[in-house]
Symmetry: C2
Subunit: 351 residues, 2 copies
């Protein structure tokens, strides 16, 4: 039976990516070798890395002021690297606290210096995106999380700030058109809209680097990775390649603009049902609802067993809410077809 | 034509690993889902991670004093993590400098405190393994590199030291039987004998942790990763799975003992030819020759074109020496069949 995969990440990717990446493991580019056994310094793989870096800039419409890096270690490593590279020894940074990952980013930055939380919805269980704050030039940078996977909230607008703009876009990168040139540093773990787990993409404006006054360990230093074109050490070869395939699929299917239209349609479908159906309610402020992760719960818990059986029977996977919130979470990343959302909505209607 | 893959890493893995990991990308465990789109917290993947950790301990014959971690970021990240976790604020560490990677490990540790290089072959272009040194209890730990991929040297014995024993085994882990319980911390990038690029295995004796007196960033803290069973953040799912497959192949084919016999036979074959053939000479001291990486060069450079054409025609791949040393390097990791070495030796004989 066809599966409808609503996993929060790692998550569904285009079927073409599964097929092509499996093929590359058996033999890459007619080389007689598996992608897994090739030197990362071979011509074939250097071409993969070069194109993987270039396509990000094309999709984001960014000029050569920016560099793209593919790094191991996950977005959690970026919580540390951002602070190490950008927070000067006596400086301070401004963060918004909009969810678990934002809170983790704040925690790690605090080891390095002063952090002001300029906006927070923590006391209201992260149910909305704080908006009424301003960030002045006294800060080394401003850090925000564009989409909160667990709580299902998403920044619809980004503030005008008088300092560097840093954004963790792990869970909604490439899902909607943005003026990416407004950001000085963007990072995202691949395992939502970009590819499989095991690699993190960093997009950074070169001119902001080298100013923290810190002695940065090589592996944490963006400038080192830029200089080595993401080959300071052996990169995560397979995750990089599968990410390239995913981004090529995006580019060949209308780019971010086309993805955004589909994502909006999927989100409208499920939120309309959540609002219509008296058995369900959403978790968060309507105006901040994420197009990527729709969180909701049953108003009448006695229906739980019936609902759970029904969506499982319909081939739906990964719908359970995060353990910290309970309920349900429908993650609808770029690769999820609208048909899957229709199947879920039909199950909700039938309850 | 069959390829004979002498790549220094990423390198050849068992054919079974390519087949099974490609299958898992198309569908994992009959779940209807690709391994790449499954939650890392799904039962299926948690079982992969648990077994991946357990099999390392079985293969190394280690008891529960040890924990096994699968981390992103590469062995170069361990240069930093070892120092952060084990080098106390006023303490010092002892390192041997036996090659490029050892030198990098030293460089990163020096950012954190005092480092004494107790043995070095740097002045002799890393052509041997230094042996006449002692390490007393005044050091927080001793760090060595068991095999030097670029220079083709390997520690045949490990010193008795009066402090913690830390070893970077990236390029010869699981290639030979050792008393692994003599080590307090072992780390290795997967991409030689263990699996594809993108994951690093750390084996650590729990009791040595928590004593450096440093405030360690979460993502660099071994204790955090132990507590979260290598799931502090999303792990590199595919590299972990392919590593498990590689280690299962090792276990099912006689374990380290059987691999060692094969590796010794392969090494004997090529070194015998290097010593016999007046056209070639090795790079390093005979007693320190690596069973994993045999470095050699042509004595008569005018034969280069002929030799290069001949080995390429024989289907050999990855034989060029590292750019810092030139010449040739035959990397013969666990998965390389002896037939490939025979093909190379026949080409050498025919010159």
């Amino acid at each position: 039976m066809k599966k409808h995969n609503f996993s929060a990440g790692p998550c569904i990717l285009p079927q073409e990516v599964f097929q092509k990446s499996a093929d590359a493991i058996l033999e890459f580019n007619g080389s007689g070798l598996s992608l897994l056994e090739m030197s990362h310094r071979s011509k074939d793989f250097v071409a993969v890395m070069d194109e993987a870096r270039a396509i990000v800039k094309r999709l984001m419409n960014l000029n050569d002021d920016y560099e793209v890096l593919y790094l191991g270690g996950g977005a959690s490593m970026q919580f540390l690297m951002v602070a190490y590279n950008l927070l000067s020894t006596n400086g301070k940074a401004a963060y918004t606290n909009t969810g678990t990952w934002a809170a983790n980013a704040i925690k790690e930055a605090k080891r390095f210096g002063n952090v002001d939380v300029v906006g927070s919805s923590k006391e209201e269980n992260y149910s909305f995106i704080p908006k009424d704050y301003s960030v002045g030039s006294e800060y080394d940078y401003f850090h925000c999380t564009s989409n909160n996977t667990i709580y299902g909230t998403q920044m619809k607008d980004f503030p005008e700030v008088d300092t560097l703009m840093v954004c963790d876009m792990s869970s909604d990168i490439f899902s909607r058109q943005l003026d990416f040139s407004k950001f000085d540093l963007i990072y995202a773990g691949a395992q939502k809209n970009m590819g499989p787990a095991g690699v993190t993409v960093v997009v950074v404006k070169k001119e902001i680097l080298g100013k923290s006054g810190r002695d940065i360990p090589s592996i944490l230093d963006y400038e080192v990775h830029i200089k080595k074109e993401s080959m300071f050490n052996t990169p995560p070869v397979f995750p990089v390649y599968a990410t390239l395939l995913t981004l090529q699929h995006l580019e060949n299917n209308g780019g971010i603009a086309a993805a955004e239209i589909k994502n909006n349609a999927k989100a409208k479908l499920i939120y309309d049902e959540i609002d219509r159906n008296p058995l369900f309610e959403g978790f968060c402020a309507k105006e901040d609802r994420s197009t990527m992760n729709a969180g909701f719960k049953l108003i009448d818990e006695s229906k739980k067993e019936t609902f759970d059986a029904a969506w499982k029977e319909a081939g739906i996977n990964g719908l359970n809410g995060h353990r910290s919130l309970g309920g349900y979470r429908a993650s609808m990343y770029n690769a999820l077809p609208i048909e899957s959302v229709e199947v879920l909505v039909n199950v909700m209607k039938s309850l």
